[in-house]
Symmetry: C2
Subunit: 377 residues, 2 copies
């Protein structure tokens, strides 16, 4: 139980929370979910949003309620949580190759009655999944992963992709469902024209591959990919049947900075913050807060003060459990115990550092949601 449960429903409670606390602006979250759902409907593409961002059953259910056909997961542990929570249409976007992971995957496939699929990018893995699924008496749905140029996972040529597709079609334990191609390397290209050109080039390659499979009489029901940075470009290619966007629910400093060339604002709002408190204030130049390396993702830009800090303040990490809010000259120093809310540097790994979301409506704490799949691998 969060020590903040006692504040639920109280006016002004947002400013009195125990810190550091992960905050969701519920109205902004719901507007983001509705905006992406409307976009997908308008573009004639399905949505299977990515739970790696939020790891939350409450948010997955909001996405499903808004029309999503399912939920993507980056880890098997996330998928286990989503299946246990009754979320339909789970797709695992990373290959599952070790013996313990295959055993867990087959057990999950047996327990799942609302749809489960996984990507494959290697013939040896495909054979291992086939053997395990045949032993379980239940087919496992697979998508073949095609490398769009990132080099992380996926078949690297049309020939190797076709070999995997044919092997999946021939495998008694597997059911071939389609192709995944994710361009993670394109999501943060700052200039929209360049991002568009590269996204469409990747989609043209993918489209040719898929068309030639279909030309050979192979049904390819699903073509999945895309991300928040290319959310409005991906449907242009008319290749994807569904999008696996994730970060749009929350947004973060990475997306705000990367896609901020002025003509290029995404129609999504910041809905996620970390609330931190001033714990030491003995200097004119800065105050020390209680949110450091263990309370924010650290691989990107620094957190961005959003409220409670003088205009022009900068946030720096100051050790495991502390931050340094550097004050502009002549500004009024926040008092001891003052709350400062920050936009998160990179939303996904920040969320993974917290057990619960504190859901706020204006100045009021209204709900506490668990980060159900926090740390689940």
């Amino acid at each position: 139980m969060s020590p903040n449960a006692r504040f639920l429903g109280q006016a002004g409670s947002r400013a009195r929370l125990d810190t550091p606390a992960l905050l969701i602006d519920r109205a902004a979250l719901d507007r983001n979910i509705a905006a992406m759902a409307a976009h997908a409907r308008g573009a004639g593409v399905a949505l299977r949003p990515h739970a790696k961002t939020h790891k939350s059953l409450a948010i997955a259910r909001r996405q499903i309620d808004a029309g999503a056909i399912g939920i993507c997961c980056a880890t098997l542990g996330e998928a286990e949580i989503m299946v246990q929570g009754g979320v339909p249409g789970i797709h695992i976007t990373s290959p599952q190759v070790t013996e313990p992971k295959i055993a867990r995957l087959i057990a999950l496939n047996g327990a799942s009655h609302k749809g489960l699929s996984v990507v494959v990018d290697h013939l040896a893995n495909l054979a291992a999944l086939d053997a395990a699924a045949r032993g379980s008496g239940r087919r496992l749905e697979v998508l073949i992963d095609f490398d769009a140029g990132q080099g992380r996972t996926g078949a690297t040529s049309e020939g190797s992709l076709r070999a995997l597709v044919l092997a999946a079609l021939a495998a008694d334990g597997l059911a071939f469902r389609g192709i995944q191609s994710y361009s993670g390397n394109l999501q943060h290209i700052p200039v929209r024209a360049e991002r568009r050109a590269r996204a469409l080039a990747a989609l043209e390659t993918l489209g040719g591959v898929v068309a030639r499979l279909r030309g050979d009489g192979i049904a390819v029901p699903i073509v999945t990919g895309g991300g928040t940075g290319t959310f409005d470009l991906d449907p242009e290619g008319r290749i994807f049947t569904e999008l696996q966007v994730g970060s749009y629910v929350f947004m973060d400093v990475q997306y705000r900075q990367a896609l901020a060339d002025g003509r290029n604002t995404l129609p999504f709002e910041t809905a996620l913050y970390v609330g931190t408190a001033v714990v030491s204030a003995n200097h004119a130049s800065h105050v020390t807060t209680d949110a450091g390396l263990k309370s924010f993702a650290t691989e990107g830009p620094p957190p961005e003060p959003a409220s409670g800090a003088p205009p022009g303040s900068r946030y720096e990490f100051f050790g495991d459990e502390h931050g340094r809010l550097i004050l502009p000259p002549g500004s009024q120093k926040p008092e001891l115990a003052a709350r400062i809310e920050c936009v998160t540097p990179h939303c996904d790994p920040t969320v993974n550092l917290y057990d619960v979301y504190h859901v706020v409506d204006g100045d009021r704490l209204v709900e506490i949601w668990p980060v159900d799949a926090r740390g689940k691998r």
Copy 2:
């Protein structure tokens, strides 16, 4: 329950674990604990090791069993876990200033019967703690925090320190126990001579302040500080009554790199690893693993491959859930599902990403310990 519990005690189980997994080499851990205990005994200084590194009751108990007089905590949540676990002599090294934190601290002080103290660096915070402790009917032990030059927490002048000491002595709700002065900014200075000079300079300042308090008849039973990087320099100053070293139990790439000028090897071994598996192997230049931004601290150097990787391999982050092991030309590529163990970049925030330690003895998984205070603030 970890999915790896079924492997407990099996020969060769270390190489078959579900990944990513946080591993402790138990023999190396115990040698590190014994080496630091012997050092402190030899130097005539007490040990109150820092639990922010390990967040583990099992490891805290091993440190106490080796002679430590107590355990330091960076957060109140860590202290709550340690007190609940019966660990004696808990000292909280960061100021606790907000209303929710003060309420929890006073409740913990009431529940604790084996020693609890906290630092203070501001008169307003001291007054708030005094009022709350008086209301609880139980004195709260406090140490005054003195800023050794890092600028994070602590009184910044001898005058403000003395004012805090006098206020603590005069406060009916508080019991003044001593001074804390932590030089976090000195721990990773690479050249030993410079590290020594700066550590001794800070200690000389601190020593003067403490001597003048004692000269005025004020008892200062505890002077605490120090870290793994200055573990053998801190006792030279003859100022600290106890050391709050943390990272020595595990070591990490940061300490290995920073303190590796050749004449400067610390007598502590790497005892902590992350075990990861190859999940995609479609390139000659690299393989993709299952440990990324959510499985390692990312604010320091990259993880360092320790076993399972060809000599000369480099590890890079490759997204939330993936790493890229870049292979030297001509090397043999690890196979799909092969395990690769890495030294952690910075041990403390890496540990905080895991629910359990997988404790290994040679090639065998022998125990699973919870990371009891993971995410506790």
